[in-house]
Subunit: 273 residues, 2 copies
């Protein structure tokens, strides 16, 4: 048996989006093993209710627990917004979401009095989770939010540049292009793929905040604090991938998100976990 | 107890799209009761595998059976393409899909030798179900297919006209605008909502085939053949709606699809049916 320290970091998302967070984790914590679950049979989460997203998140977590994890990263903004309290009450390992790290990164990068913009799925925006996290860090901070429901299908389909993404981005983001916000939080793990078109729409002066790096940093800090960092050189780290639908598309699209090939993704049925 | 004749027609879809079929059924068979299930907790089906879509379809059918139905209409092209044989083997009531009626309507409207175009979700197109149905009706008929994955999110978000839908339609459908096909089958129950923009893109000479009316006709014929038509005036028809996620959005968006208000939609958990 491995000790807890040698167990993997568990990561889940509704699909491929959370691979942007996994990538940041692998870069910051190269000695750690990881196990990733993409719930591709029920993607997307962002247009579904908090109740349904919480139910799915608990099942995802239960599955990852069966694979031996020492910490869970919820690499999905919608699930972080809806299910973090339920996951923390349900699990006996620490749980890290993407919203608090993203809010902290935004606050660190804008001066007091400057507004922060947040874009995300309808579920994330409706939850008010970013608004609460920002307010807790800097009471009274002006926050402007905008749901962008078509960004997930565009990213999933690989329509990352050209006329259609530019036009969709302009419909959603024109209000942020006049310098009304100092930073814009990409409050969905799919959105970093559309960073170029988002940048072109909002202009060069708005700081774009991607929570992947901030979440990796929060994970590293929590592992260190709990004495759970893997012992270097003890066991070579492994990276496992599970999906709830057939893996073909995940393997293909996911490599774009992860920036390296995905090897050995395995399909699992977690309906009855 | 009602006799079989007075039982309802069961209809399911992944979400709101199948309401276009329900609308045609209500118009053609005003004396029939209906019970509709929208699997909004797992929408969309079109980007998922045949295996997962079949699993969901069987659960949907099992739920509708518990509500007392005399016939099942699969008002979703992806589910019709993936799951019809499994549903027919599993159920003891007749099952009608949307693909064969749609293919028949297309063949009836183009002369021999003229090509038929089919647009649908990636799942429907990949299945080859339309290609097989058209070939069975008219061996050798030229068929041109095109998956249009972004049409479902556009229709679900209500982006039905304007620059973005026009540009997306042009990316997918430009090949059909030169008169290469005599008819174009709208092989997804969401697509009738985008009919105007599809019409503008392919031009006035291509016949657009919507399978809703053809499916209602096939249902009426099958009920008559089996002696299952409701006795007029016996019991006033009822229309019930069930969804697997919270009903708010279904009720709101669905009214656009159904062309009348949706009253009393109820959320059900069919995970364990």
């Amino acid at each position: 048996m491995h000790s807890d320290r040698q167990q993997a970091i568990g990561v889940f998302d509704s699909g491929v989006g959370g691979l942007t967070v996994l990538k940041a984790l692998m870069e910051r914590l190269p000695g750690e093993s990881t196990v990733y679950l993409g719930d591709t049979a029920r993607v997307p989460y962002g247009t579904k209710s908090a109740e349904v997203v919480t139910r799915y998140s608990l099942k995802n977590a239960d599955f990852l627990r069966t694979r031996g994890i020492k910490l869970l990263v919820v690499a999905c903004n919608t699930a972080s917004a809806a299910a973090l309290p339920a996951l923390r009450a349900h699990l006996d390992v620490p749980v890290v979401g993407v919203i608090e790290p993203g809010a902290e990164a935004a606050i660190a990068r804008v001066p007091a009095g400057t507004a922060v913009g947040v874009i995300g799925t309808p579920g994330t925006i409706r939850s008010g989770a970013y608004q609460r996290a920002l307010e807790a860090l800097r009471p009274g901070v002006p926050v402007e939010v905008q749901p962008c429901p078509l960004f997930v299908p565009l990213a999933e389909e690989g329509w990352l540049s050209g006329e259609v993404p530019a036009l969709v981005a302009s419909e959603y983001l024109a209000r942020f292009s006049g310098g009304s916000v100092g930073a814009l939080v990409l409050g969905c793990t799919h959105y970093p793929l559309l960073k170029d078109v988002i940048r072109q729409t909002v202009g060069p002066r708005v700081v774009l905040v991607d929570s992947a790096e901030a979440t990796a940093q929060a994970t590293a800090a929590l592992l260190a604090e709990r004495g759970l960092l893997a012992t270097p050189g003890d066991v070579p780290p492994t990276h496992r991938y599970y999906v709830t639908d057939v893996p073909d598309r995940f393997t293909e699209v996911g490599a774009r998100f992860l920036g390296r090939p995905i090897v050995g993704a395995e399909q699992v049925d977690i309906t009855y976990v």
